[in-house]
């Protein structure tokens, strides 16, 4: 019963529910919900907001993919946050130091980012496989520690460069940058296409390769997969490293398309957003893309709420409600489907009398 109902109804229900609940919060704070939502949607057509939304969604998409790879293996990689920030600072340092011809320079930076993400992810992976340390706890610690590592690395004593009040890594030469596409008042990241390719690769790996099958199998049931000859520990290790590798790319659209260096003030929290986006998209590459766009829309258009004197935190509340209601909605629809299935089988049994339902209707073989 994977009909359109089970796939599309839950997210729609969740969004409707979130909109209603946020409307209540808006009314309490003395604002007109229709006015607030109208302003948020109207903001999309002003200036570069729509391009910014797609750019931000690219970042969220990569982060969501990184988390989703872990989810396939029943691994909860909260550590995407730490992995992408570690990779970003290492790649920025390497990119600033390297002197290479165009394209090769870019590829080198991306390679460094992937490897750095993998390296940081290898710590919880090895701890989990050899010592049984819960990846949730170890990655939370590593997420906190990464802030210290970044502060240490971009200190002027190590690799940092002081520019005004901001300390950051050395600026990457134009040869290492990824050119964007100017649209209206904004510039679309060239990385959008690379992110889409990674999404396709993710889909291909999961659905068309033996490795993807084994990964999903051991995520469903470790014991069953082990009986089929899949080494669960090896799969855990590989899934975590892959997840870390993709996480390493999360900061690249902004680093190579807009900022060109990584500083103390560079944005964070993309890793946590990735968890929510992966949940919204149910680990499907297309779903994750939609989730990323929705999330980015809420983030970029929330700023406009200040114009009508509504605090923009309402967007954060809305995001929290959406995540919770999406998962609840999936459960409700699943239960409703199950009940409908049982009724259908019951009716078929009653109609056929003693013969029993046909296999197609859910009867016994």
């Amino acid at each position: 019963m994977t009909s359109w109902r089970t796939k599309l109804l839950p997210p729609l229900l969740a969004i409707v529910f979130a909109v209603l609940l946020s409307a209540i919060a808006l009314i309490i704070s003395g604002a007109d919900p229709l006015d607030a939502y109208g302003t948020m949607i109207g903001q999309m057509f002003k200036g570069s907001t729509s391009v910014d939304t797609v750019n931000l969604a690219t970042v969220y998409y990569l982060s969501g993919l990184a988390v989703a790879i872990g989810f396939q293996m029943n691994l909860f990689n909260i550590g995407v946050e730490g992995q992408y920030r570690f990779a970003a600072v290492v790649a920025a340092i390497a990119g600033g130091a390297l002197k290479l011809p165009p394209v090769i320079h870019t590829v080198a930076i991306l390679l460094v980012a992937v490897l750095a993400g993998m390296a940081y992810a290898s710590i919880p992976a090895v701890l989990k496989v050899t010592r049984g340390v819960s990846e949730v706890i170890s990655t939370i610690m590593l997420n906190a520690i990464v802030a210290g590592i970044i502060a240490f690395l971009i200190n002027a004593d190590q690799f940092g460069v002081q520019t005004g009040n901001n300390i950051g890594t050395r600026v990457i030469e134009p040869s290492g940058r990824i050119p964007g596409i100017p649209i209206g008042q904004g510039t679309l990241f060239g990385f959008v296409f690379i992110a889409a390719l990674i999404g396709v690769a993710y889909w291909f790996m999961l659905n068309r390769t033996r490795f993807g099958f084994e990964l999903k199998a051991s995520g469903e049931s470790t014991t069953a997969a082990a009986a089929g000859g899949v080494n669960a520990k090896k799969m855990t290790l590989i899934a975590m490293l892959l997840s870390g590798g993709v996480a390493g790319l999360v900061a690249m659209p902004e680093l190579l398309g807009r900022d060109y260096n990584y500083g103390i003030t560079s944005t964070q929290m993309y890793g946590f957003t990735g968890i929510a986006v992966a949940l919204l998209g149910r680990n499907h590459p297309g779903g994750i893309a939609l989730g990323a766009l929705l999330w980015a829309f809420l983030d970029t258009s929330a700023v406009s709420l200040e114009q009508i004197h509504v605090s923009k935190e309402i967007a954060t509340i809305m995001q929290g409600i959406i995540v919770l209601s999406v998962v609840v909605a999936y459960e409700i629809v699943r239960r409703a489907d199950l009940a409908a299935e049982q009724r259908r089988v019951g009716r078929a049994l009653a109609a056929n009398g003693r013969k029993g339902a046909s296999v197609a209707e859910g009867g016994a073989v």
């Binding site: 819960s134 520690i145 409600i321 919770l324």
Partner: protein
Amino acid sequence: MITADLTPESGTTMPVQRKRSKIPGWLRGVIWAVVAIGVLSTASYSTGVAALTSSNTAHTALRLALPILLCALGGLWAERAGVVNIGLEGMMILGTWGAAWGSYNGGVWAGLVAAMVMGALGGLLHAVATVTFNVNHIVSGVAINLLGLGVAKYLSNLIFAPISGNPRQSPPVPKFDTYSAAGLTDWLTDLEKEQRVVISDVAGILRGLVSEVAPLTMIAILLVPVSYYVLWRTRFGLRLRSCGENPVAAESLGVNVYRHKYIAMLASGAFAGMGGASLVLLKGGADYLENQTNGRGFIGLAAMIFGNWRPGGLLGGAALFGYSDGLQLAGGGTAVLALLYGAVILVAIIVVIQLIRKQWLAAALGVIGAGVLYAIYWTQDTLPSDLIPYTAHFVTLIVLAVASQRLRPPRADGQPYRRGED
């Protein structure tokens, strides 16, 4: 759901008879405390860094350990009932807002109650999602962390911003009064000043723990034995823990699993909210401040796992993290370096124990670890100042890596449960 009973974890395997250790739990705690103080005073004596055992360090450590301890207790209640509560951080954030709001309007005790109510609301939401709707526990926890942050920011903007003029901060709020055991502290102060080996160290630590104690501190510490008593020595506690071990069996014996999980989650949220209150309502802490929890909810969860899902153990975990955090605040890089020296001594003791037990590999690894630590201690004058604030996190990681092989979580921890489906 129907296929779930085919996996060997749920019921088909017999519990393996483990060799019972002869040492009772409380005695093991005392031994650990004695070893810790012995190691610290030796390290303090041989490195000449007094901050390792100064009353200032102990006092700061106690203040920093409280939120972690309360969150760990919250985690204990939830996970013993079989609900993984990664939303402690969000409930704690709700608690900090509640504490500031209640305390500003009705004094410290109102603040404490408001914090507990706000936290319990977060716990209730987690219970509705995980128990009633069977949502994945970690997913729901992540959502609650998001919601807690958003709601606190929103409420702060709505209520605190007009008073304090800053949406990220509350106006100054009343704090708990503190009490010192007058005669005892003077005597301990004298002892600490005499600089005698071991005695002065013990006196310093004790003085830090008994001077200027707030009622909230006493309540928090009392909650550890109270939690032990309720969860392990009452009928209600047995039923609650049975929901975390084997809910199907519990239900078949007439235990209302849903109700016990709900109660556990309310308690868990209230404890986490109290943890938030301990950040706001103690002297030396900030008023409500955005992002002031700074991941302490997660560290509390780590302290609980470190403590093997037991009250005594999580007290030890909270003390460890509070101490390493307090030490870096009170003593800085040189003190943390001296702590490394202490770690070398501790590892040396463990190596000797492993040699006696003829665990050659473990002993060899221990020798290598001690060698590396000692090399760092010997070659460096101080540690990078950017990394010092993360001492507690490093300690957590290392301790988990070394210690976690003998941990046993509640058997049905994090498993979905629906009445009649299994």
